[in-house]
């Protein structure tokens, strides 16, 4: 029995401890906002927060998060200033296209801006290069992160 927390709520998982965290979130907990894209930490669609870090849930065994808190896109606090700024910027810049990768993009962007309110272009690239988007929304993601940073008072 593996005990951990998802979005602050205690959860227990009794099946295969090797199950990737992604599939525990999606199949056992019904949290389908975290997406399956590649299964080997190449695309970032499955990005969640563990201890404030953006992590790829497809490549973390559920046994590895025992006792930890995992935050998913569903658990982002709407009133959190960073979350609010990122989502508002995403809508303002009309970022999304198909939208499938966007929960992962947003999780990576929130993790970045939570730590760095004024990321440089290189820092944005570093934080976001693990998140693929086949629709090519990258230019708008860049713009939206800068917009969010500006609204958070970040100065470069």
């Amino acid at each position: 029995m593996i005990k951990f927390f998802v979005n602050g709520e205690p959860v227990q998982f009794a099946s295969d401890p090797d199950t990737p965290l992604l599939w525990v979130l999606r199949d056992s907990l019904g949290l389908v906002g975290t997406k399956f894209g590649c299964g080997r930490a190449q695309c970032g669609a499955c990005t969640v927060h563990i201890a404030g870090e953006a992590e790829r849930s497809c490549s973390i065994k559920v046994s590895a998060v025992a006792g930890k808190n995992v935050n998913t896109i569903e658990g982002l606090t709407p009133t959190n200033p960073v979350v609010k700024a990122v989502k508002a910027a995403w809508v303002d810049k009309d970022v999304v296209q198909c939208g499938y990768c966007q929960p992962g993009q947003i999780m990576s962007a929130v993790a970045l801006l939570a730590k760095n309110k004024a990321p440089t272009d290189a820092q944005i690239d570093d934080a976001m290069e693990g998140n693929l988007c086949r629709c090519g929304t990258y230019p708008r993601i860049r713009e939206a992160i800068k917009t969010a940073a500006a609204s958070l008072g970040g100065k470069r």
């Binding site: 099946s15 056992s28 399956f36 809508v91 198909c98 499938y100 966007q102 629709c135 090519g136």
Partner: protein, 683 residues
């Protein structure tokens, strides 16, 4: 909010405008009268009432979107067409995706389908008419027959069309509330993964599920036409079960294709006479050329690799079935599913799910992943979602075909082209599909030669030969279809001729495009905005390309450098003439998208085969563009002379690879002729 629409038959529309109108009205008899339909399949005789529109008592206007939403923004642009004529409050407009049904035919295809950058253009008159009919009926406030010949607004009176409009679906996608096919939840839903043959066309010799037994959560192991499915109560159970299968595959020697072998065969074929796509008036004219350039170009197979791996959910109820899939060809998939399930098509309801990208992969005339899901569902008789892993997707075929082009072109002493012999070798995308009848003429698959045999350049004595090959590798259209390779060859060869003639590449092109003002206009605008001819920092160069596809013309100027032997693209400036613009924000987004998609293929992506096996498996070895490699992209829209919208989703893809290649040539003196450029170390 994007929702999957409820069945038409149970829908009741109660129109109620903000004024005091009572009673229920039904809207939407649209009879497509225009010819040119490609298919007779269920061609709509009369569209069902309310097919496209529902007005709620609270004034909410719900538009039923007949096209698949997979990123291109049709859940915004198509409602805009109706709302313009209906003159309703845009803030109250919602979108729902239509299920499979003949009333939702693409008027350019004559069957339901999303592709060919045609979603807006085929709906242009149809949906404005629906909006105008609804408005007429609302004003009359009576149960009228659907009015015929309703006047449509003149372009000068548009309030919404042409206005930058944000997407309807942004917020739900930002909040991760959009339900993609992958996310669908149903009672007792099982998950299946299918082991496919490692070599295309290989047959199942035998298999043992001995090691699958005892894996918790696995419920069924069943044979399908193209493999062995393992079904479980979760993805992970099915995955572990599939990994534990022991399978023997039988593959005939002729199936053991290699990319190198194919290209060698193509190279030989290109030098031989073949079926003509265009005959030169004087095939010997090139012999009198002052200068000739000859070149061979190689293009690999390409996977579409949409972010959402393929999946299909089915509830097979014995005498009927319900399917959920992000399909680009709903009715074709519905028909294929019915056949696989042994049901009449009307007994199969196909719900269109929001799709996480597609780029052509979900428009497969073979309905491969849909039929496979049907086979599993029929065998196990429990609700099942068949999921393809990323490896299944990358290795699963239905690629943009590999092609080889061989060109010999000559100019006279003044730089005017006098002869152009062009051979194209590769598989036909439409052979053996229902599209063959109208896309293959006299042995020439139009999708193999589009962009070459119909070039707008004034090329004297253009001669085009097509060698259509066959292989075990399944092929399919991929964003911009034939233009993915033909634009590259035409635009790099034209550039090479400009260079041979000692002329500026933009001026040289314009000199050959005298009868094509749209091409000249986009070239001029892209060149101006990119600072064509102005100095660049050392180590950088610009390249240009222009190409027409799907009724639109797009020019691009790329700025590149070489870093560590690799091509780095710093900036792409695009100018597009896409006819009458419905939503400039969509146009900008789609051109950006098309450029990023094209750059992935230009720089990184290739599927190669060795002994019949695909050598790539996931994004670590099937490279696609990441944000750190994404250039600054600027999109400029030319004020068009056209009074209708033309394509937007694809026309931005073809010019980017040749623009980059021409910049690389300007910088290095070497002409890129093999894609992706990442195969070559540049200096």
């Amino acid at each position: 909010m994007i929702k999957t629409a409820k069945p038409v038959t149970s829908r009741r529309a109660f129109l109620k405008s903000t004024a005091a109108i009572t009673g229920g009205l039904v809207i939407g008899f649209w009879l497509p009268e225009r010819g040119g339909r490609a298919f007779a399949q269920g061609a709509p005789k009369a569209v069902h009432p309310n097919a496209f529109l529902r007005i709620g008592k609270d004034g909410t206007v719900t538009v039923i979107v007949k096209h698949l939403e997979f990123g291109q923004g049709v859940t915004t642009s198509l409602p805009m067409l109706i709302a313009e004529e209906l003159e309703c409050d845009w803030g109250k407009v919602r979108a729902e995706l239509a299920p499979a049904g003949p009333e939702f035919a693409n008027l350019a295809f004559g069957m339901q389908g999303t592709g060919g950058s045609s979603s807006v253009s085929n709906s242009w008159e149809q949906l404005r008419t629906v909006g105008a009919q609804a408005r007429t009926m609302l004003i009359a406030a009576a149960k009228l027959p659907v009015p015929e010949g309703v006047p449509l607004k003149a372009a000068k009176d548009f309030k919404l069309i042409g206005k930058p409009t944000r997407r309807i679906d942004s917020l739900e996608k930002v909040d991760a509330k959009t339900v993609f096919g992958m996310d669908l939840k149903r009672p007792n839903l099982h998950v299946a993964l299918v082991a496919h043959p490692p070599v295309f066309g290989a047959r199942l010799g035998g298999f043992s599920a001995e090691k699958v037994k005892g894996i918790p959560g696995v419920t069924h192991v069943v044979e399908t036409a193209n493999g062995v499915a393992v079904v479980g109560k979760s993805y992970w159970a099915a995955k572990k079960g599939r990994d534990a299968l022991e399978i023997q595959w039988d593959s005939a020697p002729e199936l053991k294709v290699s990319s190198e072998g194919l290209m060698a065969q193509y190279r030989t074929l290109a030098k031989q006479p073949g079926p003509s796509a265009k005959k030169a008036a004087d095939p010997n004219a090139i012999k009198a050329a002052a200068k000739t350039v000859s070149a061979e170009y190689e293009f690999p197979f390409l996977a579409h690799a949409p972010m959402e791996p393929l999946n299909c959910t089915i509830e097979f109820r014995g005498d009927s079935a319900e399917i959920w899939a992000g399909s680009q060809f709903q009715m074709m998939d519905q028909g294929a599913a019915a056949k696989a399930l042994g049901l009449a098509p009307e007994k199969v309801r196909l719900n269109t799910m929001a799709a996480g990208g597609g780029f052509g992969r979900r428009a497969n005339p073979a309905s491969d992943y849909i039929v496979e899901a049907c086979e599993v569902a029929k065998a196990i008789k429990v609700p099942v979602k068949v999921i393809w892993t990323r490896e299944d997707d990358i290795k699963g075929g239905y690629y943009r075909p590999a092609y080889l082009h061989r060109v010999e072109a000559g100019i006279d002493a003044k730089g005017k082209p006098v002869g152009w012999n062009h051979a194209i070798v590769g598989q036909s995308i439409v052979a053996g599909t229902p599209f063959e009848g109208f896309l293959v003429k006299d042995g020439i698959d139009h999708t193999s030669v589009e962009g070459v045999s119909d070039t707008p350049y004034d090329l004297a004595n253009l001669d085009v030969t097509l060698h259509t090959t066959k292989s075990a590798v399944p092929v399919l259209w991929w964003r911009s279809v034939g233009h993915t390779h033909t634009a590259f060859v035409m635009e790099t060869m034209i550039d090479e001729l400009a260079s041979a003639a000692g002329q500026d590449p933009v001026a040289f092109r314009k000199g050959l495009l005298g009868k094509h003002p749209r091409h000249v206009a986009v070239l001029d605008l892209a060149a101006k905005k990119a600072g064509w001819g102005t100095p660049l920092p050392k180590g950088r160069a610009r390249g240009v390309a222009v190409h027409e596809s799907f009724g639109s013309v797009c020019a691009q100027v790329a700025e590149v450098s070489i870093e560590g032997g690799a091509v780095k693209v710093h900036r792409v400036v695009a100018a597009i003439d896409c006819g009458l613009v419905v939503n400039p924000m969509t146009v900008e987004a789609q051109v950006q998208s098309a450029i990023v998609y094209g750059l992935s293929a230009a720089l990184h992506s290739e599927i190669t085969l060795k002994d019949g096996q695909v050598q790539q498996s996931n994004f670590h070895n099937y490279g696609v563009l990441r944000i750190n490699e994404t250039p600054k992209i600027e999109v400029h829209i030319v004020a068009s002379t056209m009074d209708k919208p033309t394509g937007v989703g694809e026309p931005g893809t073809p010019p980017v690879a040749p623009a980059v290649a021409n910049a690389v040539a300007a910088l290095t003196g070497k002409r890129p002729r093999v894609l992706p450029l990442g195969k070559t170390k540049w200096a």
